[in-house]
Each structure stands twice: as structure tokens, then as C-alpha cells.
Symmetry: C3
Subunit: 289 residues, 3 copies
Amino acid sequence: MNQSEQLSNTANDQLHDLTSPLLQQVIDAWIELKTQQPLVHIMTNTVASNYVANILLAAGASPAMIDNPFEAESFASIASAINLNLGTPTSEQMQAMQIAAQTAQNLGKIWVLDPVGYGAVLKWRSDMADLLLQYQPTVIRGNASEISALAGNQIQAKGVDSTVSSESIYLQAQPLFEHTECIAISGESDFILSKELNAVIQINGGSYLQPKITASGCALGALTAAYCSVSSTITAGTMAAHIHFAIAGKKAYARANTAGSFNVAFLDEIYSLNEEDFRQYSDFCILPL
Amino acid sequence: MNQSEQLSNTANDQLHDLTSPLLQQVIDAWIELKTQQPLVHIMTNTVASNYVANILLAAGASPAMIDNPFEAESFASIASAINLNLGTPTSEQMQAMQIAAQTAQNLGKIWVLDPVGYGAVLKWRSDMADLLLQYQPTVIRGNASEISALAGNQIQAKGVDSTVSSESIYLQAQPLFEHTECIAISGESDFILSKELNAVIQINGGSYLQPKITASGCALGALTAAYCSVSSTITAGTMAAHIHFAIAGKKAYARANTAGSFNVAFLDEIYSLNEEDFRQYSDFCILPL
Amino acid sequence: MNQSEQLSNTANDQLHDLTSPLLQQVIDAWIELKTQQPLVHIMTNTVASNYVANILLAAGASPAMIDNPFEAESFASIASAINLNLGTPTSEQMQAMQIAAQTAQNLGKIWVLDPVGYGAVLKWRSDMADLLLQYQPTVIRGNASEISALAGNQIQAKGVDSTVSSESIYLQAQPLFEHTECIAISGESDFILSKELNAVIQINGGSYLQPKITASGCALGALTAAYCSVSSTITAGTMAAHIHFAIAGKKAYARANTAGSFNVAFLDEIYSLNEEDFRQYSDFCILPL
């Protein structure tokens, strides 16, 4: 074992020791979500809006879709967290997003950026995502194609779906730490890059049916905003949202393995999840960056 | 017993005598809804639109979401009823709403206003709601926070969710009779203020899961419009929509007590409700104002 | 038997001989859809967007709702097929649709027009539908009222629902062959007019509950676009989408006969359909035009 391997092992051990405390923070965040029912200001796409609202209500948060430029500042000012999703932008929504992001930064509010479809083909939204980075999103959440492209890599997505795996690109995402504390990349496993811990957390679970239900990524972004507004750290809040989804997806699939029934079961499991589930089914590991 | 108590008792007795005839009017309205399948012109928010359409189809109405200013007048002119919902307004929708409300008033059409999120924080839509009042909505429907604020009280909502109970504010809503014949306040119990009867009807039922499903209030507003276009009186139509919801919610919860399954069961029950259910499960009382 | 009857019988026999090869083409299209997962560029209405995306994902396609004028050209250029649906147009969507249709025509891409609500009452969208015809949609899909009106007949729809049967109007639709190769009219039975075969294909199946679920026509239009991008002929692709729906509707109804449960079961059946189902349950006949 050479010196570099020894250092790495020490880092691994230290991170491994974080597993229990992080799980406790995740559970605490879940309890706080149920208790505080934080108001989440959401600007999302027309495909996702109903689903996102139902997921947040089921989880215990209080979602409100306010996406016009005339109310963006006043509503962002009273919300506990903000989620901006670039799925189907309109000119008015674009104005509203910039106002909300600026308000969030000015007031030190939690806000989550979801750069849906980021890449060369969808330039209008991609330019807006670049612009929104200057308002320092608390968390950036997307699929592997989006995050990789946002971090400056040349990548070709398939529409709004990813063509690469989360595992293969998470190291490419680190330049985004210039703009954010936390980067969440969803996929077969989810990878959460934490500036605070200088580590990446790999979260397993979910179901291969999840990408067959539209807008689950969008809902995850909004839930991340909700959790981060009540958690002790941004890392724990982001983890809590992703673990909540991973366990609900796994349990839903055990009950229902076709698209329609899975969709219903997933919302049931998001609603029903309890502390015991978190302790029993959380499946994550922490790796050094 | 003093004279004032005697008067009140007399009023109570007279109102109590209305229970059976009102229930019959409600059932008649339900039969007419199934028979006439009234065309309802709906402008609603992006969160609610799919759900509202499915609820109305299940109940027997024919919904059509037409929300641009270029077709608002011609479509309002042929619709049986109109429902304007301020959930996620755009500039074009705002124009369209004003045109539709004006058309409704000019042609003496049933129209229902749902002032989602009314209050100081969401000024743009609140100004529009104030403006729309001049076109004399047939029914105003909202949660307790919205109705109280619309009636001129200082109240703080939590986003688009209410922070006060329907029971505690219904007396505050009476100034709205200047603009409308009927005010429906949804909550744990619903309260319908009828100018015609000079009474308030309290409707019990539903499920505590209902607020966990987004857009059920929005769907209730649209269904109220549908019912009022076929009922003998506005009071009976508004009651019919609320009782239809209350029974369906109660029956759905008996079958399914988690968010996703409840959502599906609720649509099933809206569809399946029959005359027997109305007679068996209607739970309302009439109180003097 | 006179000469004319003999000719007609010969035509009937020749068309009847097409039944087996057409079914094989339909099955081949279904296999290709699962394999290629074509990217479908969709501009649709706010009522339908979530449902349409879920149906396409369940069937195996990759939907993306991109409906702003700033990204319409670049995205249409990379998509395998395009679906333009006039359900709830906005000014920006209208611009985007024209750009996408023009791009489709320039690049020889499959594109499907769904003229929701076409008729005298909804003039703004109807003018746009007329305009879009010049870009030669590959397929025009609608209900009987819409298709009849688009073909120049005086007809009165009820909002966005049809007031006439598909069977009664399909002969009126033939003038649309000036603009398209294929016309699909949905209803109790679906009728697909094929310029290639100079025939109409009648497809049976589905369920009377289908019109009780909003946006199933919209989803069928988008699925038609998906199928046509992978099928050997436009006729086979259009048939495949309609047969996929007809079988899924029939099987779903056998499991669930109320609106909410049917909705879930239908998505399940869209997802689960297999080659055996196509061979067992396809129910169509081919008639001369």
C-alpha cells in the first residue's frame, strides 16, 4: 500500500463513519417536512405540474405553482423554497424565473435549478440556465446528459431523456461547484455531489419503471427544494428527497409492475413512507471526490 | 324563550322544512347533468386542467378548456356555463377571462369565479378577481382564506392553501352578496351561502385526504358551473356539486386510504354515484344567516 | 351480378387479401417502436400533456414537449416525428407550430396534425389549421366533427367533442387527400382513409369509457406520429397506433369499468401489449373508397 492509497483509505473510512449520522439527518428532515409543511414556490412545465403538486402534497409539503413575472418576487419572498424547472418555458415564465432566482439569492432562500433539456439543440432554455447559474442555485438537479452539458461538456441528449449514465459523468460535474453547493444527478443510481463533504453519495433503489413515468425527475427537483428548506444541511435535504423517491419506487414496483399501476402505487408509497422504511430500505454509500 | 329566540326558532324550522325539497332538487340536477351533458367553458390552471376535465367527464358534463382571448367570446357564447379559475394566469388568459366574464354577463350565462390564491401576496390575480366581480359571477367558490380575503378581510393564506376554517369565516363572506347570488367555501365541511334562501348550507362528508390531491377545489368549481346550468336554482346546483364531491370522497376513502389510490377511487366514485347514494349519504343542514 | 358489382367485388377481394400483410406490418411497426424508441416532438394542450407523455413512454416512444418558437426549428430537426395539437393554443405555441410544420415539410419528416375543436366557433385555431395544411401533414387525425369541418363541411361540434359518428362522415373527408396521405377519424369505430391503398380501414375495439377519459384522442395523435416514424408505410403506422389503442381499451375495460380505474388500466395495457395480443385481438376490415 503506497502513501496515496493510505490517504484514500483514510478518507474512505472517515466518509463511511458519516453513514449513520447522515441517515439520521435524513430521517430528521423527513420528520420536519411532515411537521413544517414548507411552502414551495414552483415554476415547472405543463407536463409535470399536476404530478409534481401531488407528489409534494403526498410527501407533506405545500406546493404552489406561481409562474408569472408579476407575482414572482412577492411569492418567492414568502416561500420556504423555490424550484425552477425549464421543461416547457414560455416568455413570461422565463421572466418570472429570473425574478424568482434573483429574489432567492437576495433573501438567501433555498432554490433548486432543474435545467431540463439543457444542450445545444435547445438553446433558448440553455442560455437561460446559464444565466440562472449566476444566482447561485442551492442545488442543481438533472439527468446525466443535462448535468454534463451544463458543466460544459459536449454531449448529445435524446430530447429530454439522458443518453449517458449518472455513474459515468459525475466526475465531470465538479466545475458546477463554482455555482452551487450540491449537484444531484438522477439515473439508475442517483449521485449527489456535496461540496460540504467533498464527497459523492450514491443512492440505489427505485425501479426501472420510473423513467416510464413522465415528470418523476421534475417532481424530485421540487421535493429536493422542499426537503432542503427543513433539513439541517443541504446535503441531507437533497439525500432525503432522493432516498424518499428510491424507497417509494422500490416498494411501488414490488406491488405494481406496469406503468399505470406503478404510477398510482408510487404516489401511495411517497405518502405512506415512514421512519421504519428509511431505516430498513435506505441504500447509499459515500465516496470521496 | 325571548322574542328573538322565538323568531330564530321559527326561521330554523322553516329552513329545516327545506331539507327534503332541496335534496330532491339536488337529485334532479344530477339527473339533468347526466341527460343534458352541458358544455362547460373552462379557463383553469396548468396544474388542474387534466384532472378537472376528467372529473367533469366522469360526472357527465362536457368540459372544454378554451383560454385564449381570440376565441373566448365566441366560445362563451355557445357554452352552457363558464368557470374562471385564477390558479396560474398568463397575460393571454387574463384577457380571455375578462372577455368570457363580460360575455357571460351580457348573455345571462351561469359563470363561476374561483379566485385561487387571492390575497396581498398575489396582487396581479387579486386585482383581476376584483375586476371580475363587476361581471357578477353566479357563484364564487374558494377556500376560506380566499373567500375571506375577497370579502375584504385581512388574512394570510399559505400559498394557495387555506389557513383558516370555513366555519370560522362564513359570516365574513356576506359582503360578497353585492356581487353574486351564491358563495361556496370549501373545507373540512363546506359552507354554501345562498342569497335566495338567506341561509347557509353546511355540507359534511369528503375525506381528510381530499386536500392531499391537488386541484380538487378547482374541479369542484368547474362542476359547480356544470350543475348550475341544469339545476332548478343556483343554490341547488351549487349544493349538488358539493354533495357529489362529499359523497364520492367519503366512499373513495372507505376503499382507498393512501393518496394515489384515493385519487383513482375518487374519480371512480364521481363516475359511479347514483340516486341511491344521494338519498343515503347526503349530509347537510341549513342554518339562517 | 352486374359489371359494376363485379368490379366492386374484385376490389373487395383484393383489399381483403391485404388483411394479413397489413397485420404483419402493424406488428413489425410495434417491434420497431420498442426497439428504436423514436423521439417525438409534441406540441399539445395543457389538458393532455401529462397523459400524452405517459402513453408514449408506456408504448415505448420518447416524447418531448417543446412548444416555444425559439426552439421549434432546432428540435423539429432532430426529432423522428412531430405532433401538432391545437387544443389550447397560445400565441407563442401558434408561432412554434408553424415553424415546426415548415421544418417538417422541408426535411421530409413525419408530422401529424390534430385540429382539436376545428369549426366556426373556434376560428383562431381553425385558421391556423387551414394554414398548417399547406405544410402537408403526413396524417390528419381528429374526431368526426373536426375532420368533417376541416374537409369543408358545415357541422356543429359540441365544444371539443364530436356530434356525429365517424362512420357517417368518412366519405366527406376525401377532399383532405389534397393535403395529406392519411386521415384518421376516431370514434366508436375508427376509420383510417389511406391514399396509398385507396381504401378505408375500419378498426373496432376500445371501450365506451374511452371518451370519458380526457385527452385520449390527443394521445392517439402523438402515438400515430411515433408509429409512422418507424413503420414501413404511413398506413401501417397509423393503423398500428389505432389498433394498439383499440386493444388496450378493450382489455382495460375487461378489468376496470369505472372512469378512474379504467384510466389506470388503460395505461397498463398500453404498456403490456404484446405480439400475441395483436394477433388475437386486432379487429379491422378494409373497404374500398
